[in-house]
């Protein structure tokens, strides 16, 4: 696959991927290091977002410390011909951060649709899941609440 980035884009991402400094002009160091203007740095970041290379630019938070204490992975058994419809529908809710179809293992594990839902507490999540279930008319599901977070890091980095 052809990359949509040139070397300057890569170097900018390499230098900001762990976070910009909390300074009035947070892009000035990167700009100086690359001998380009700050406007070019932010312009390139903007363009990377528009081209879909960068999903977004913003904060990464510890949601547990901001009142969003629970994440549940809810797995659903959806008839194959309804996956697209049900998946798109669930993806539309802001509480759903991830929505994927995944491979099944016939006879061992037949849940094919996965949603990750974040909420203040378990009750909020259970209520939402019940609503989703009624709305999509899917009654086979499991709520897999996380009881421990062993690791959570960004999945990819520019090396």
């Amino acid at each position: 696959m052809k990359s949509q980035m040139d070397e300057i884009d890569r170097e900018i991402l390499r230098r900001v991927q762990d976070g910009i400094p909390l300074e009035a002009r947070p892009f000035s160091r990167v700009a100086k290091a690359l001998s380009i203007g700050e406007a070019e740095v932010v312009g390139r970041l903007e363009s990377l977002i528009q081209r879909g290379v960068v999903r977004r630019f913003g904060s990464r938070v510890n949601h547990r410390k901001a009142g969003i204490a629970v994440n549940a992975m809810v797995v659903w058994k959806v008839p194959p011909e309804r996956v697209a419809e049900v998946g798109t529908g669930m993806a539309g809710h802001p509480e759903v951060t991830h929505c994927y179809e995944r491979r099944i293992h016939p006879g061992r594990w037949e849940y094919n649709l996965y949603t990750v839902i974040h909420g203040q507490d378990r009750e909020t999540i259970c209520n939402l899941v019940e609503r989703f279930s009624r709305h999509a008319d899917i009654d086979e599901f499991l709520i897999l609440t996380s009881t421990r977070e062993f690791k959570r890091t960004p999945a990819g980095r520019i090396r």
Partner: protein
């Protein structure tokens, strides 16, 4: 009013903006301040407090995986004996290919994601994890994604999420 997490309503508004609509501008904190009716300095002070409390981890680009050299990935579910869960979780965490690893309340109690530069590399990592942890193949589910409907890890910090975004854009 501050809630249990130590954030007041301005903090929450600020956090919401920094997450959803960080202004890509040479002076982003000034623009955030203009939007929230705060001086630039106060914006930075509030963010600094949130960093120190551990609420805010960083402000950075979120990269699409395909651009970072990840070509193969999967979710893995494992049944691990209760008394071994800590040890196995630690062993799994050691792999840089593993980005997320959670304990969940189910007989399949350990759930982690593995991402690698190629299918071969992914297979090698999974084999190494199996060997090292000694978890049997019958107790492991490999669950690669077959279709993506959404990935958007953003949260609502304020109840009322209306109003104009500082950069004037609406995101899907």
């Amino acid at each position: 009013m501050r809630s249990a997490d130590g954030l007041d309503s301005k903090d929450r508004e600020l956090l919401q903006c920094v997450q959803d609509a960080f202004p890509l501008d040479p002076r982003p904190f000034r623009i955030l301040g203009q939007h929230l009716g705060l001086p630039e300095r106060e914006v930075m002070e509030r963010l600094d407090r949130m960093y120190r409390r551990g609420v805010l981890k960083h402000i950075a680009p979120v990269l699409e995986m395909r651009e970072t050299g990840v070509a193969a990935s999967t979710l893995v579910a494992m049944k691990v004996a209760e008394e071994r869960i800590e040890e196995v979780a630690r062993a799994v965490n050691e792999y840089e290919e593993v980005s997320h690893n959670y304990r969940r309340d189910h007989p399949y109690n350990l759930w982690f994601t593995v991402a690698a530069s190629s299918e071969t590399h992914l297979r090698e990592s999974l084999a190494a994890i199996r060997r090292q942890t000694g978890v049997q193949e019958v107790d492991i589910l490999e669950l690669p994604m077959t279709q993506r409907f959404k990935i958007d890890v953003r949260f609502r910090f304020v109840q009322e999420n209306g109003g104009e975004k500082p950069d004037g854009r609406d995101r899907p």
